[in-house]
């Protein structure tokens, strides 16, 4: 359309409308809707959330998929490598149900004999070879890679998705039950931290004065005691087990939450809505639980989300140094620790729990980062 065609009568003057100028065009969003919109845009956080949901579902339902129990031992089927239907032909995935190892000797024949001895076989019916170097007779010049198929050897029809451990227990079952226990310990510990921390911080901040002074001095001393030290000391007097770990984790764990909630309450308690509520005769309990705490929920959630991976780490750490769960109970920490003992020859025993643990930790950390950005825009980097 060129200039001449634009006629004046194409334009209609806008009507000044008092009512419309006040109209709100977009739907009003609550704090949570707003936070959700921000969180949704954060790809990492969504990835973390999906990962965690999937892992949680697996931890709940996966052990039901197998006929094995947590402690069903079958020494005849110990150290079976992982084998998954449909993935058997992709050798590089390592889920083909074969054990592979490289042997070096002066000649190919000698290297093959080493493989026989290594897998305790009499003949080559269950071993395939891949000759890497023919060798010229000098020392260790020949190199063969041997693939041993224990599933064919032991005539096992079943597929152990994650393989079995040194006692012949199904690792798939153990890993997911271990995940369940690790998650449970972390969630309970985080919940207790949250309850104690919110109550302590709320009371300390709201009442202020001498109450606050005394409560803060106590916290200052507690914060000075390293978590590691408390956890180790507590574990030593309590009988090892889930309860002991939870108590050890929570005994000083709540201080971080208490400090954050106190800070928030101090900031909020002089605002007008609190004054209004006080004027209307609300009790202190009501003001704290109905006005102050709900306004700090964002911070509480963020802090809890960082507590959970920390608790999972400490549980695994304790199990790893021998102060955690005792056999036959399994957690991710004990499974990784067991895996270490067989790492050189049967890496699958450690790798599966290690992968699950890493995914959980990454999931919680990036989700927590995302939530922090979504719930507390002021803190955004």
């Amino acid at each position: 359309m060129d200039k001449e065609n634009v006629k004046k009568d194409l334009f209609v003057p806008a009507q000044k409308d008092e009512e419309k100028s006040e109209q709100i065009n977009r739907p009003s969003l609550s704090f949570w809707q707003d936070a959700w919109i921000r969180l949704r845009k954060n790809g990492g956080a969504i990835f973390g959330m999906v990962t965690l949901v999937l892992l949680t579902l697996l931890a709940i339902f996966a052990p039901m998929l197998t006929s094995h129990g947590l402690d069903d031992q079958d020494l005849g089927l110990s150290r079976m490598p992982p084998k998954v239907q449909g993935l058997e032909n992709f050798q590089w995935l390592g889920l083909d149900g074969k054990k592979s190892e490289t042997f070096e000797a002066d000649s190919v024949e000698e290297a093959k004999d080493l493989a026989l001895a290594r897998f305790s076989q009499d003949d080559f019916s269950y071993i395939e070879f891949d000759v890497k170097a023919e060798g010229d007779g000098s020392e260790d010049s020949a190199e063969v890679k041997a693939y041993y198929d224990p599933y064919a050897d032991k005539q096992v029809e079943e597929y152990f998705w994650f393989g079995t451990d040194t006692l012949g227990r199904d690792l798939f079952t153990r890993v997911w039950i271990g995940t369940r226990i690790s998650l449970m310990i972390a969630l309970i510990a985080a919940l207790i931290d949250m309850l104690v921390g919110v109550a302590y911080g709320g009371i300390s901040g709201y009442f202020g004065g001498r109450v606050d002074n005394i409560m803060q001095r106590i916290i200052e001393v507690l914060v000075g005691i390293p978590n590691l030290v408390v956890v180790i000391l507590m574990i030593m007097i309590l009988d090892p087990g889930i309860t002991a770990i939870i108590i050890a984790l929570t005994i000083t764990g709540w201080t971080g939450m208490a400090r954050i909630v106190r800070g928030q309450v101090l900031k909020l308690k002089n605002q007008e809505f609190v004054l209004a509520s006080q004027t209307l005769g609300s009790s202190n309990t009501r003001i704290l639980t109905k006005h102050l705490i709900p306004n700090t929920v964002g911070m509480i959630i963020i802090n809890t989300m960082f507590t959970i991976p920390n608790a999972i780490f400490f549980e695994a750490f304790l199990s790893f140094i021998g102060l955690g769960l005792q056999a036959p109970d399994a957690s991710l920490g004990t499974l990784i620790n067991d895996g270490f003992k067989a790492l050189q020859i049967n890496p699958h025993i450690m790798i599966f729990p290690a992968i699950v643990m890493s995914l959980i930790m990454i999931g919680f950390n990036i989700l927590a980062d995302g939530l922090r950005d979504a719930l507390d825009p002021k803190m955004r980097e």
Binding site: G224, I225, P226, V229, L233, M236, I237, L343, M357, S358
Partner: protein, 309 residues
């Protein structure tokens, strides 16, 4: 300033006193006694032994003596290893752990600073995202998983590095890297945030306006100011190095305090466990105190804010 330092030292002493008292009570509450296993000991011999170690005295007397010994750095005698005092064992092993921790700290923070700096300068580029991914992974995945994976793939499969023990530089590479990952991740992330904030501030704009070179802006004006708050993450780093040495030394069979501790857990050598725990507590509290005082000196606002609480 003097008042602040005194106050902090006061808190440190209270904390140490509480930890010491707590561990004394624990020692008394533990089932059994150091003599439980010695069934052949006659009643008279038992009396002599108990007398020798002062275990017949009333609890308060034992407690005061215990505190006195602690104040002099005497942590008692090992239950399992004959005639070895816990202090001697710890002191003979401390240098190895210190060396491991020192190198991990140096490697970790310098790599982390490099990553953080690159991420801040090239904000929202692939380098920034790469650096972010590395730091999330580094913060999330425990060092023992890294250590195990490295030991298997680099040590066992590829046979590039020795998988255990301590002494040669090659043996140090894997444990130092495993331990350095957390300090690296946390300093990378922290420096990135600080650096972005500093680079957006007015004095950087002024520097740019008067034609200061990009190099000078980043290193002289930017980095120097961004580094100061890095002191605050030294606390978490110290904790991670201590928990880290426990597991890393066990995995790589490094003869440090951590390995001793884990072995003592398996042999129920309570005096060593307690001694190490107290030693760690002391070390940790002193490190935090130094960090806080340093920070108070560098940035007086922190001290004032702390005083108002």
């Amino acid at each position: 300033m003097a008042k602040y330092i005194l106050k902090r030292i006061g808190y440190m002493l209270i904390t140490l006193f509480i930890i010491a008292t707590f561990s004394f009570i624990l020692m008394k509450m533990l089932p059994g006694s150091p003599l439980t296993a010695e069934e052949k000991v006659t009643e008279a011999q038992r009396e002599i032994i108990l007398e020798k170690y002062g275990l017949n005295d009333p609890i308060p007397v034992q407690y005061v003596r215990y505190l006195g010994n602690l104040a002099q750095g005497d942590l008692g005698v090992s239950f399992q290893m004959k005639n070895q005092s816990v202090t001697d064992i710890l002191m003979s092993r401390a240098p190895v752990s210190a060396e491991l921790g020192f190198w991990a700290l140096i490697v970790g923070t310098s790599l982390g600073m490099l990553l953080g700096l690159i991420a801040a300068i090239r904000q929202n580029s692939w380098m920034d995202y790469g650096s972010n991914i590395i730091s999330v992974i580094g913060i999330s995945i425990p060092s023992f998983i890294f250590a195990g994976l490295m030991q298997f793939y680099i040590g066992v499969e590829l046979e590039l590095l020795p998988i255990a023990f301590w002494g040669t530089p090659q043996q140090a590479i894997m444990p130092v890297i495993a331990l350095a990952i957390f300090p690296m991740a946390i300093s990378a992330r922290f420096l990135r945030t600080e650096m972005i904030e500093v680079l957006g501030s007015d004095y950087i704009v002024t520097a740019k306006a008067k034609g200061v070179s990009k190099f000078a802006i980043i290193f002289k004006h930017g980095l120097r100011n961004a580094l100061i708050p890095l002191i605050t993450v030294m606390g978490p780093m110290a904790v991670s190095l201590m928990t880290g040495t426990l597991v890393i030394e066990k995995i790589f069979s490094i003869p440090g305090i951590g390995e001793q501790f884990v072995n003592s857990v398996t042999t129920n050598d309570f005096s060593i466990i307690m001694g190490t725990t107290l030693f760690f507590a002391f070390l940790f509290i002193v490190i935090i105190l130094i960090i806080d005082i340093l920070y108070g000196i560098i940035d007086p606002r922190i001290r004032l804010a702390g005083g108002k609480d």
